[in-house]
Each structure stands twice: as structure tokens, then as C-alpha cells.
Symmetry: C2
Subunit: 392 residues, 2 copies
């Protein structure tokens, strides 16, 4: 088979709010090959991703992504890896955004190949079976410690054994205030629940400020301490990891290639590596990171905040890894992401989820929703239309 077509769709909620919710728009990628269709989503400013697809060449190291994808072979996982290498080779200088766009296209290639071969992606990756994983609920800290406790109680009563608190006031006031929130969260969850804290990069590169929160995190038996710093701040991660004997660090959602994720493990000393398949270069890179993490005794966790399609593609890379047993689950995405798929990965009566045992991602895109949220766009250079919204 050859890659016959790639279509990029910009989907958007009628109103996009200035809040930390990445489910308000989507760059949806559709691939066709020999009559088979695959879908993938890039975690990417949609218009910037679309421009990366068709922008005129600048030089031999700055080709539009289309040059490395269209017409290439699609008969095996190795063909997909070759497409990824093509993009890195042909767009490595001056086109950083290509890392994000190819993530969505690469997922669509795996989905298409899986449907053609009637195999789930995790089987194409070499796993024999899927492992059931514990989904965690992700919520914002309350404005007060009492509110935080109530949120924990509510989530626990909904059946979640693992809850992550993040953002809100954390890191912005005093060490004592943060400690009060952490202890309140633990009280609300109960002693046997998994409690995770997400600092949302609030400390930038301030190791002391991040370290001041360690005693409370250790006392509350917090499972991981996520993103204290800018994702690029390896030395700061490493310094904090050395000072935190009990609570392990987590990070990696900002890794846009496998090198960066592996460096967070090697130099940053994280105990959990959090990868967004739609950001890191796709399923092939995510799988590579999952294997590397396992070899280093680090747990792999998906980063997923949007649709059920994105959830399935994010489960594939570590579907068969028993040690990496916890998973992010999109709790309350916006209507766009809720409606985008015909089927879902539901939480079972045991409170667990797993990757579907069905061809490709096992998730069917709802084309009515694609039409409903589709944004018309056009890019013209020298009077020639390089992009216009394709037909669903």
C-alpha cells in the first residue's frame, strides 16, 4: 500500500476560553491508503500545524511535511518509522512545529495500517496482550483547603481510587498554604488512595521553591510530584530528584521527541515519564520511550486530556507493560471531544480500563461531529491556494 492522501481538519468549539483546557480545539488528521482509512490527532495549534504541511520549502532541511509523507509505502510498522525519520531528516531546521504535526499523522498511519491488517496497534507493536490499567481523575485544587478536601471526597465517591490535584493556587502563595491543600487532599481521598500533585511548571527553574514543598508531599504519601519546572529544565529536575528520597518526580508531557523524554529519565531523575502520543512524534516514539523507561525502572504514564480516540492511541504504546499500571483518563473534555467518537473506552466494574481489542485504535470517528465543529480556513501564497478545508 502507499499513502494515497492526508487530510487535515481544524475543529474548534464555538467559544474557546482562556483556561488550561486543551480539549477546546483539535487538529484531526485523516490518512487513506488502498481504500483503508486511519485517523489521528496532533496536540498542536491547528493552523500552525496545517501551515507546516504545505509551507513552501526554505532549503533542503526545511521541507513542508507533505514532501516526506505523501506517496510513501505503508505495508509495515517499519514503513511508518521510515516516514517519521523522513520528516526529521527533511524538516529538522526552521520547522519545529513539524514534530507536533507528524505526531497526529503518524497515529493515523498506525490506525490505517491496523485496520488494513485487522489488528490492534498494540499487536503491531509486538505486545501479545493488553494489561488493565488504573485510570486517575485529574482535578484542579480548590481555592481553599476545605474545597480541595471536598473535591477529593467527591471524586472518591465517584469510584476513583487515584486522583491528581493540580494548578490553581499551588506554588503561588506560601509553603504552609500548599501543605494545607496537600493534607486536605489526602484526608479526602483516604489513606489507601493514590494521590498525585501537579505543579504545572509553576516553579520554572527555582529548585528551592519546589523543594520547600517536599516535606508535606512526603508526609501525605504523595505518589508523584509532577512538572515542578519548565519541561526543558533538566538540571533542575535532576537536582530536585536528588533531594526527594520518598516522592518521585513526574514529567514529560512537553517532550516533542524521544530524546527529550529519555533525558528527563537520565538527567532529570523522574520516576514517572508522562508522554502525549500526539506530541512526542506519535506511537513509534512513545513505544520507544515506554521500553526505555521500563529498562530503567521508570513507570510510563500517558498524558491525555482530550478525546477517546486520543486516549486509545495513547494507551497503545504501553498496553502490554504490566509495571506501568496507571493511566490518565480525560474526565470532562469539551463537547467537541465528547462527540468526536462513536464509541468509548469505558471504566469497567473493576475500576480499570484497557486498550481496545479491535483493529487500529478500535475507536470510530463520528464524521457528523467533524462536520459540526469544522472550521473553514484558507492559506494562499503568491495567489495560489496551498490549503483549503477539505471535505469530510
Amino acid at each position: 500500500m502507499k499513502i494515497d492522501s492526508v487530510d487535515l481538519f481544524y475543529l474548534r468549539m464555538p467559544e474557546v476560553l482562556d483556561i488550561g483546557d486543551g480539549s477546546q480545539d483539535s487538529l484531526l488528521c485523516r490518512v487513506t491508503s488502498n481504500g483503508h482509512v486511519g485517523w489521528g490527532e496532533a496536540v498542536c495549534s491547528p493552523m500552525v500545524g496545517i501551515t507546516s504541511w504545505i509551507t513552501p520549502m526554505s532549503h533542503s532541511g526545511c521541507h513542508p511535511v507533505i514532501d516526506s509523507v505523501l506517496g510513501q509505502r505503508l505495508d509495515s510498522p517499519e514503513d511508518i518509522r521510515q516516514v517519521y525519520r523522513n520528516v526529521r531528516q527533511n524538516s529538522f531546521y526552521g520547522l519545529l512545529q513539524s514534530d507536533l504535526l507528524i505526531s497526529g499523522i503518524e497515529i493515523a498511519l498506525w490506525d490505517c495500517l491496523g485496520r488494513a491488517k485487522e489488528e490492534p496497534i498494540w499487536k503491531l507493536l509486538g505486545y501479545n496482550k493488553t494489561e488493565r490499567k488504573l485510570p486517575y481523575a485529574s482535578v484542579l485544587f480548590g481555592d481553599t483547603a476545605a474545597e480541595t478536601k471536598q473535591k477529593a471526597v467527591d471524586m472518591r465517591s465517584k469510584g476513583f481510587k487515584a486522583i491528581k490535584f493540580g494548578w490553581g493556587p499551588f506554588g503561588l502563595t506560601t509553603v504552609e498554604d500548599d501543605a494545607a491543600h496537600i493534607h486536605a487532599a489526602r484526608e479526602g481521598i483516604g489513606a489507601d488512595g493514590y494521590l498525585m500533585i501537579d505543579a504545572g511548571t509553576v516553579f520554572k527553574d527555582d529548585v528551592e521553591a519546589a523543594a520547600n514543598r517536599l516535606p508535606a508531599l512526603a508526609e501525605a504519601n504523595v505518589y508523584w510530584y509532577e512538572e515542578p519546572f519548565d519541561g526543558y529544565a533538566l538540571a533542575e529536575y535532576g537536582a530536585l530528584a536528588k533531594r526527594s528520597s520518598k516522592v518521585k518526580l513526574a514529567g514529560g508531557e512537553g517532550a516533542h521527541n524521544a530524546f527529550q523524554a529519555e533525558q528527563l529519565i537520565d538527567y532529570g531523575g523522574v520516576g514517572f515519564i508522562q508522554i502525549d502520543t500526539g506530541y512526542v512524534g506519535g506511537i513509534g516514539n512513545a513505544y520507544r520511550v515506554a521500553q526505555y523507561a521500563t529498562s530503567k525502572g521508570v513507570k510510563y504514564v500517558n498524558h491525555t486530556f482530550t478525546s477517546q480516540s486520543a486516549l486509545s492511541s495513547s494507551l497503545q504504546p504501553f498496553a502490554g507493560l504490566k509495571e506501568s499500571n496507571i493511566t490518565e483518563y480525560p474526565m470532562e473534555p469539551k463537547a467537541l471531544c465528547q462527540e468526536l467518537t462513536v464509541n468509548r473506552i469505558d471504566v469497567g466494574s473493576d475500576g480499570m480500563i484497557e486498550a481496545p481489542d479491535a483493529p487500529g485504535t478500535g475507536i470510530t470517528i463520528n464524521t457528523a461531529a467533524v462536520k459540526k465543529y469544522l472550521v473553514e480556513a484558507e492559506i494562499k501564497v503568491k495567489g495560489k491556494t496551498l490549503y483549503s478545508t477539505p471535505t469530510v
Copy 2:
């Protein structure tokens, strides 16, 4: 002063060839503030950079760059640093290309501020004087060792005491062939010239293949061994550096923030850090890297392949550093870059160059050339024009 306007111009040669020459197009940024004008160039796929400027917001961490720049204060270097921090804060997730776009805009802000204060940028950065630096000529290896030798002889006869050979067949055939080219280059230059070798990332992440070339490099007294690997491959740089006692590694042109450049020093063990001001986030980041490098005994070198305007902005960050005494000089850029400026930084009778002692970059943009090479472009979303080519 406030930042009153920012205009982005896509300039392009009539024909762009599929060769490793980054001077074939340009994303030129113009800033105005209180009647003063500044210019800067981003090393960036122009249309992708332009889209990053005006793309609709995706969420609070994925704003278009315009939101962090327009209307901000511009009275001091600290104001420019704040604009950069704004962009990192507001566009950190899903908009990788913002790192490149802000590089060009940031340079234009320094140029504008310097012209308003009638000071060269290097003075605003805190340097008291500029140091004269040795420009090196950058050429491709010949197809045969004899051709390589002849190129070296020719460059030396043109007055260049420092010559860098790169790309071409290097790393693609045998260790013996590469050794023949290296020795031929040294013969052509003579024993007293500086000889640098640029592997152009040919070895990706293959440490053995890169290390096999070390004996010839050491025998030929090569000054630096540049970019053996992908710029993200820190561990591979570090492993090779440990095996190379005589020849120091060089790299960094792909660093799109200061963290990455510092990590090439800390983990990659480079002896020379090569920074493109139009890629690393602008002059502020480049200055930070230059100071850090100096504190670690590493020499800072600019990466500049395009215009004289880009050359001046790339000299500013290390203008006053005596230890970092060698500089890349664009040898034969395409006509666009040749014509883009009214004045130039010429090589003196002593064979040296230095940053101009004049307000801003000290280089005047030739608006006739901007008009000549300007590409008309338009970006429309939901029927609304978000970008159309501005008036020069």
C-alpha cells in the same frame, strides 16, 4: 515606549533550490515603538512563523504570539526579557514554532530600543567595548580529497586563516576516505591555519561511527568537530566528548532555547557552543548562553548563514568576550541576503571583524530589496483575514 506595531515579511528568492543553503528565504520582522523602527530576522519557515503570530488561541497555554507582544512596554532590556517570558508562558504547549518567531521579533525589539537610546545593542547588554574576532570561511568538502585540498588552498589565498569544511561525502563512505579529506584540507590550509570539520549530523546517534573519525581529526590538529549527531542527542555528544581528548566537539545551532544550549555544555561536553540568535529565542537568550559558556570554559561561536543584519545581531551577544574569538561569517549568501542591507560588516585589513559601534544593530535594511523579494500571502479563518502581506 510601547510596542506599537509588529509586521512580518516573507521574503524569497524567485527560485528556491533543494540544497543546504538557508539564505534562500527570510522571515523579516519589523517593530515600531514611539516612531522608532527596529528589524530582526527569524531562522524559521516563514509561513509557519507568520501563522504562529495570528493563529486563533487553543487554550491558556497556546496563545498566538501577538497576544504576548503587541502593546507591551519597551523602555529597557528588562522589558524585552519580559516579552520573551510572556511568550514562553502563553505559548508553551502546542506552539513550538513560537520559539523561532519570537527570536526574530526579539532581535527587532533590541534594534528598536538601541536606536531609541542611540546605543549599540552590545552596550545595552552591558559590554564596554567590542573585541575583534576572526571570521572563518565555511565551505563544502570536495567530491575527492584533491578537490578538498584545492578548495583549502583557494580560501587561504583569499586571506582566510580559519576554514570550516563540512557535509558533502563526509561520513557517508569509509573512515579512510574521510581521513583523506581531512588530511587534504590540512595540507591546503597549511600548518598554522584553523581547520574545523562539520559532520552535519550525519551520524544521527551512532557514537562508534563518529568516534572512528577521531584519529584523523586529531592527527590533522582539527580545531573543532561539529555536529556529529542530531542536536537533541545529548548522551551521544557526552559519550563522544569523553573519547576525544584532543579535538573538542562543537554544536548548538539547533538549540531553540537557552536550556538546550546549556545542556549541550553540561551533558554533551562540547568545547564550542554555536548559537543562532535567530533560533535560540533572540539576543537575550544568546547572551545568557554566552555568559554561561564563558563560566564553564567553553567558547561561544555564532551560527550565521544569511544576511549582514543577521550577522550583526549574532555578534552582539558575545561582542565583549575576548575568549570567544572566532566567528562564522556568511560567505556567499543568495542575492536576497546580499541586497537586504545598505551597509555591511567588512573584514578589516587585519583579517578580523567586530560588531558595529552604532545604534541598534548598526545595519540599515534596504527597503527596496524587501519590496523586490516580498511574497504576497494571506491566511483566512472562518472568512476573516488574519494575515495579509503588510506594506513595506
